[in-house]
């Protein structure tokens, strides 16, 4: 990446960065194993990582594990020191609460917590376990933990749409996004079905949908990490692993076709859909009405709508497209403008300058 132009961060950015670095130095590191369903092998991977770290001389303790333990995990568990959770009874229910006081006293360097989405009984120091984990991190204790997709709060509606079920406990997605590391535990659905012991038969199709969802969530987390890394190193990247589509609208565009196509492309690529228009002074009222109608449709389709201001249409669009790391730019054209023959029109200029993204041209709707 040496050939990339460096971007000098401004003073506020630098300060934020220094503060973040300071926090990071004293704070423990959070590593999360993310699975798309039970029995995908998260616990095994998590304890296996703990075992490896212990073998390399790190001070590792187990602070929580899940109810049923398979023989291979049970064997690994016997090698660890444990600070077991405290069992608290409340309203006829057993709660397993991380023993924060004991952990603070013991102060290991790494703490293994199997199962992140648990709630604590009313009157506890924190209502939910992930908040306990956050306190461990604040005290400089690193945490390795595991969580399933169905417990990510922001994903629960979609999971319920797929499976018809909703897990009672959840963690905020933001907590996952802020983890230092997240590792995906992936396996084909068949492996899970074969492993099922309780007789319930999960539907392979549902599992595949959950699997895709978990992978895309992980990709978003990784994309965020990539951006953070590039920002903190002052690299202005013009690329990414994600498809980003910018639909550029004018009053005369065939907005319906452009937006629907953009929406479909963004969905299939699991990319982003952005919509922009360049503000024009003295827009005739009928054009203003058309444009507003286009923008309403864009918002209906869930696009981010941006109003751009600038003297020159081409350079305004170009600058925005680069800043947004756009990979495809959608433009409308009349197709038979007489100026095209002799003068370099705005579309030609955009095509000439677009060396980072594709330009897709959509014919304007036939005027009747």
């Amino acid at each position: 990446m040496s050939s990339r132009p460096d971007r000098r961060p401004n003073p506020e950015e630098l300060l934020r960065q220094v503060q973040a670095d300071e926090r990071r130095e004293t704070r423990g590191r959070l590593k999360v194993f993310l699975g798309y369903a039970s029995r995908v092998g998260k616990s095994f991977r998590m304890f296996d990582e703990g075992r490896r770290r212990k073998a390399r001389g790190q001070d590792v303790v187990v602070a929580a594990m899940q109810g049923e333990v398979t023989p291979d995990i049970s064997e690994m568990l016997s090698q660890f020191e444990r600070v077991p959770p405290v069992v608290e009874k409340h309203a006829g229910r057993d709660y397993y609460v991380i023993d924060l006081a004991a952990l603070f006293r013991r102060h290991p360097s790494v703490c293994l917590i199997d199962g992140l989405a648990y709630d604590n009984p009313p009157g506890s120091r924190n209502p939910e376990r992930w908040q306990d984990v956050s306190e461990l991190l604040d005290r400089g204790i690193s945490v390795i933990t595991a969580v399933n997709l169905q417990h990510i709060r922001e994903k629960q509606d979609e999971v319920q749409r797929i499976t018809g079920k909703r897990a009672a406990n959840s963690i905020p997605e933001e907590f996952l996004l802020e983890a230092d590391e997240i590792e995906v535990v992936d396996a084909p659905p068949e492996a899970l079905i074969g492993r099922s012991s309780d007789g319930s038969m999960p539907d392979p199709r549902q599992l595949a949908e959950l699997r895709e969802m978990a992978l895309l969530l992980a990709a978003d987390v990784v994309d965020r990490q990539l951006q953070c890394y590039l920002d903190s190193h002052g690299v202005a990247a013009r690329w990414g692993a994600q498809e980003r589509i910018l639909v550029c609208l004018t009053p005369r565009s065939n907005a319906d076709q452009m937006l629907r196509s953009g929406h479909r492309n963004a969905l299939r690529f699991h990319g982003a859909l952005l919509v922009a228009y360049v503000e024009q002074a003295d827009l005739p009222p009928e054009d203003r009405v058309r444009l507003d109608h286009h923008l309403a449709l864009a918002r209906d389709l869930g696009a981010e709508v941006h109003c751009l201001r600038g003297e020159d249409f081409v350079s305004t669009i170009l600058e925005f497209a680069r800043e947004q790391r756009v990979t495809q730019l959608f433009l409308g054209h009349t197709g038979r403008s007489p100026q095209m023959r002799f003068v370099r029109g705005p579309i030609d200029r955009l095509i000439d300058a677009a060396d980072d993204f594709d330009v897709r041209l959509f014919p304007h709707r036939e005027e009747t």
């Binding site: 199709r205 990709a219 994600q242 095209m340 002799f342 041209l361």
Partner: protein, 371 residues
């Protein structure tokens, strides 16, 4: 000849050397062996990694075939020997490998397809950067032009693609500890290809690609009768169902002898794959010049399973527009027109004329992304 069922292919997908693909594959091979499955190692690349080598214990290995080339001996999978042995499952490391000249087939994935045809299940490993469709993106991100590539359709044919993950931080720790490569090579790797930014970007590509493979299988698999049908099935549901309301898209790639055509082909095919669109390539020949380069691009396109057409015409844009209309094309992919000499500045470029003549179609002008 008895009608044999084709073997199943499972691909362990990673994003770099050392993430644990072979380790994971061998662990599963050991599970299968314990279950009594007849499994052999067709090819395994030890790379001197102790923990991985330990996992081959107890597994039968088919001896490799030695091939002399250029005064040295090279070892490749002995495909015929695996066929004769005919196990239920064969383990074949490094799917993207190119065989040494003198083998029956150029690529290892071709050997794997022979095994599958014979009804043998195959487990194999690869990294995302070996996918043909990601070649330019990988180069753009990392500066490395990956030479050993696999056409996407070969991986799409796999019954299962499993993502093998390891965080870039953990991978770099492994490199530092000398687990992946020897110290000298490891240091060099960490300063070049294995930078945190490169690894993070490649990892994102691998995760997104695995999600895509999962989705492809969901879209093509018959829907189970018991599937939950609650919730809205709005625009999103329709688009996810893969059936655009206005019928299937058909993409036409206009290729020339210019070097940028390779990029154009990969990009057009990738978009077509994601949109589940038909993909055609067309070359309009105006004279005998540059036939060789054009032939290369046409055969590259055919390798990616793109239907290719060649036509002779003096009027290139007119011929493209006519062909596109006759073939019900919905989107045309073209490269940028070359800079013109001053005496032609007042005439239209080919792109401009195609835009004018195919005024009812979408036209995509693909940028040759430079680093």
């Amino acid at each position: 000849v008895s009608e044999e069922k084709r073997g199943k292919l499972k691909v362990y997908m990673g994003y770099a050397a050392g993430v644990g693909k072979t380790y994971r594959m061998l662990s599963e091979a050991q599970d299968l062996r314990r279950q009594g499955v007849d499994i052999v190692i067709g090819y395994f690349e030890p790379h001197g990694r102790k923990e991985t080598i330990a996992l081959t214990e107890g597994l039968e290995t088919i001896p490799r075939r030695v091939i002399a080339y250029g005064g040295s001996n090279f070892e490749e999978m002995d495909t015929d020997a695996v066929l004769r042995r005919k196990p239920a499952v064969a383990l074949v490391d490094e799917f993207a490998h190119t065989n040494v000249p003198g083998c029956d087939r150029v690529k290892r994935w071709q050997d794997v397809r022979i095994l599958l045809d014979a009804g043998i299940d195959v487990l194999t490993t690869m990294n995302v950067q070996h996918l043909e469709s990601l070649n330019d993106q990988v180069w753009h991100v990392t500066g490395v032009r990956v030479r050993e590539t696999i056409p996407d359709w070969v991986v799409d044919e796999a019954d299962e693609v499993v993502f093998v993950d390891l965080t870039p931080r953990a991978l770099r720790n492994r490199l530092e500890r000398g687990v992946v490569y020897q110290q000298e090579k490891a240091r060099h790797a960490m300063e070049n290809f294995f930078t945190e930014a490169n690894l993070t970007a490649l990892r994102e590509m691998a995760i997104r690609h695995t999600a895509h493979e999962v989705e492809e299988r969901l879209l093509t698999a018959p829907r189970a009768a018991a599937a939950v049908e609650t919730g809205e099935q709005g625009a999103e549901g329709a688009a996810r169902g893969g059936q655009p309301a206005a019928g299937k898209e058909r993409i036409l790639i206009c290729l020339t002898g210019r070097p940028s055509s390779a990029f154009l082909i990969r990009r057009g095919k990738r978009v077509a794959d994601y949109l589940q669109a038909d993909c055609l390539a067309l070359h309009i020949a105006t004279g005998p010049d540059g036939r060789e380069a054009v032939e290369r691009h046409l055969s590259f396109a055919r390798n990616l399973r793109i239907e290719t057409h060649v036509m002779e015409a003096a009027d290139v844009p007119g011929a493209i527009a006519a062909f596109a209309r006759a073939q019900n094309i919905t989107q045309i992919f073209m490269g940028r027109s070359q800079p013109r000499p001053w005496w032609k500045l007042l005439s239209e470029t080919i792109v401009q004329r195609v835009v004018r003549e195919s005024h009812d179609m979408q036209i995509t002008i693909v940028a040759e992304r430079r680093r």
